[in-house]
Symmetry: C2
Subunit: 434 residues, 2 copies
């Protein structure tokens, strides 16, 4: 059955957790891949830095080589799983020039150098696939690039970093501090020894840039994303969130604004309160979920394992099958589409809601004065909750606004700080998904 | 910008809810479609039965025609939205012979005549797309056909019929009877005047056959699906389900069995108890959700609107963009892949769990006798709950089994009926998602 199919040479760059799984599955399931892609996939080499490093026995010793350039330029399909910017960028460009289609899961590289890579693939008339770059095995890249091709996306809201979600989940369910939850995550292998890229939101920001580019047919780079990580989230913040019927999630948000005040795309990553009955609030542990809202389709949610060797390998291999089928049957992967070229808006033009806690003088007229401050900044109020657990003559008021631009919300907070019947602004938190 | 792109002629068969939305969006968003597909999509005709019937003003009067054969054979892309077997089948085959690619949402036709249609498309070397046939705008067809191409699916569990889910949800949240809930669904337009196809599970069965075919690379037709609808579900059943911490859902189940006793594919549609903390239990109203388990990817869930004009149009139009891009750039949709040709197993070989309620003599040894009946049929017990609310010397025992073949479970139930310390078998229900 395999004999009559054309052979495609496959090179793999990197043999870490994902690379080992990819090689193992390509070898073990050769018949499945031949039947599904129409080609026999022949792994010719696996480039590694150190031939002697201990590694998964699933990768045959004789495939290993340190000559990554030869692997990049001597194959029909090149799978890049080194990660990072260099040498991944140089090797992928060399592969394109050599006529290879490239499959990668390298979100940092795409967020930083996407347009250069897309242009090189288009010039070489080869495929460039990167499903594994966003949310592991969950087909988010496909959903935005192809499934929404007949629709108009209005927003994407996602929990796209498993490490931070695990940490926030530990804090929420066990009352741990950030440091204690991070330590647990590191012990269990969910966080790296240097957790910066995850906990500072940079990994999520790279994914957010890719999501926004695909959703809005507009070039969005890492620098366009306003980023805030979770290192400042405290156990107190989580307790307060629970008291408001919410969880705190690190969200990647890509939003289209098209109103009289602003038109464009807003992209940001930050922790936010999410009501407990919202589907993203119940995303547990290291799972990922992405919520897409589109004009015709309405709300779609995708949920699954966003990281890990096997799920990421599953995403890489579906791209391999697609790229191989194009080699056999003609056709090509959808090209980068940035025709809409919408302006990228700053954080001040993002739309969100604030939950503001105020300590006010417990006297007639205080609440009216507070309401007036919001109104004069064109911010409507969704709900007001007054607790009088503080002693003396003060009260704590918790206000949740309607959706408004950050510019207006921040102006309202500044005015509240000046308002004489407000003793102090206790906290200001973003709320999403109401 | 549009001028330099090739023109593709598009014909639409049917101008009902979905057809009207499709035509409206193709006309309103011509620029978007041109940029995304690489071709100008020119709607040449919309075939209807009655030119004078009242219809959505979004469909220009001058496009309407009763000559469906001319629409089917005179275009590059044909969108079939008539539904039912004939004349849809004849028109699609004519479109293929005339060299057109076809996009449809006709699940009944695909479940009944899929192989004939796939073969005709392959012979004509054109595309055949049907994302809208399963779960509306949720890209389930894509997920199974392409996203899982590098993986091995072990099971698919779905809430794929919005009408029955709405009815069960009304029964669950409002305590309504089936008839009262059906009447509400009909008033709100969620159920048709003749609700047979939905409430008897036939619509879900057609989707289940398509899902199983795609998931397991095996031909599965409507006749292979064991079907039971929801007409026998009572308000009492729902109350009992709640008492067990469950909801009742109509599930479409496609399962791969590969153990020492049986190898093959099991496909069925029936109501089942689903624990409340399972993701499918919280699928509300007319929404759909599909849970895919694969060896490498693990568990993936897709959630969204499974029906309705706009969501279905969104799915149809993403297929239109893909088919148009193939016309411009070459390439083709993935062909039907039935290479695995797994045997289709009967219901007796399906794996499930039972919840069995028994009235037993409240005497020492009764429970041991019951446990012995299960054990002698190779069925393990997951949990036992005993309630003594019945008067006299009887007790009601609720047993939930582990996963076992229906054959063994049914044999255990038959033996229980003969066991002298069992007064009666009160109820037997299937449990999924534990």
């Amino acid at each position: 059955m395999l004999v009559d199919r054309p052979v495609l040479k496959v090179g793999v760059l990197g043999a870490g957790t994902v690379g080992s799984q990819v090689v193992r599955l390509l070898l073990e399931r050769a018949e499945d891949f031949a039947a599904r892609s129409g080609a026999r996939l022949h792994v010719t080499g696996v480039a590694v830095r150190d031939l002697e490093a201990p590694r998964d026995p699933a990768v045959p010793r004789e495939l290993l080589t340190t000559d990554s350039t030869a692997v990049a330029t001597g194959n029909d399909l090149v799978i890049e799983l080194i990660g990072g910017i260099e040498p991944a960028r140089t090797l992928i460009l060399a592969a394109f020039r050599a006529g290879a289609s490239v499959i990668t899961g390298n979100k940092a590289l795409i967020a930083a150098h996407g347009p250069e890579l897309y242009a090189a693939a288009a010039q070489a008339q080869v495929d460039f696939y990167y499903e594994a770059a966003v949310a592991g095995a969950i087909p988010v890249v496909y959903a935005l690039r192809e499934s929404m091709a007949g629709d108009r996306v209005t927003s994407v809201l996602g929990v796209v970093n498993g490490t931070t979600n695990f940490i926030l989940d530990e804090m929420s369910t066990k009352g741990l501090s950030f440091d204690a939850a991070l330590a647990t995550a590191q012990q269990l292998g969910y966080a790296e020894a240097d957790p910066t890229a995850d906990v500072e939101g940079l990994d999520a920001a790279a994914k957010c840039a890719i999501i926004a580019s695909l959703a809005f047919h507009t070039r969005v780079g890492l620098d366009d994303v306003a980023v805030e990580g979770i290192t400042d989230v405290t156990a107190d913040d989580i307790r307060e969130a629970h008291a408001s019927g919410c969880e705190i999630k690190l969200l990647a948000i890509a939003q289209r604004r098209d109103d009289e005040l602003a038109q464009g795309v807003s992209v940001r990553v930050h922790p936010a309160l999410v009501p407990k009955d919202h589907p993203l609030a119940s995303v547990r542990g290291a799972f990922n979920a992405v919520l897409v809202e589109a004009e015709a389709a309405g709300r779609l949610m995708f949920y699954g394992q966003g990281a890990g060797g096997a799920p990421t390998a599953s995403a890489v291999l579906s791209d391999v099958v697609a790229a191989a089928a194009h080699r056999v049957n003609g056709g090509q992967a959808p090209r980068e589409s940035s025709y809409a070229a919408l302006p990228v808006l700053g954080l001040q033009d993002a739309l969100t809601r604030y939950q503001v806690q105020l300590r006010v003088v417990d006297a007639p007229g205080a609440l009216a004065a507070v309401a007036q401050v919001f109104a004069s900044n064109q911010v409507s109020i969704d709900s007001v909750r007054q607790s009088s657990y503080v002693g003396g003559q003060d009260a704590v008021v918790t206000i949740v606004t309607h959706v408004a631009p950050v510019r207006a919300l921040d102006a309202a907070v500044r005015d509240l700080e000046q308002e004489e019947r407000v003793e102090s602004v206790v906290s200001v938190r973003r709320v999403e998904g109401l």
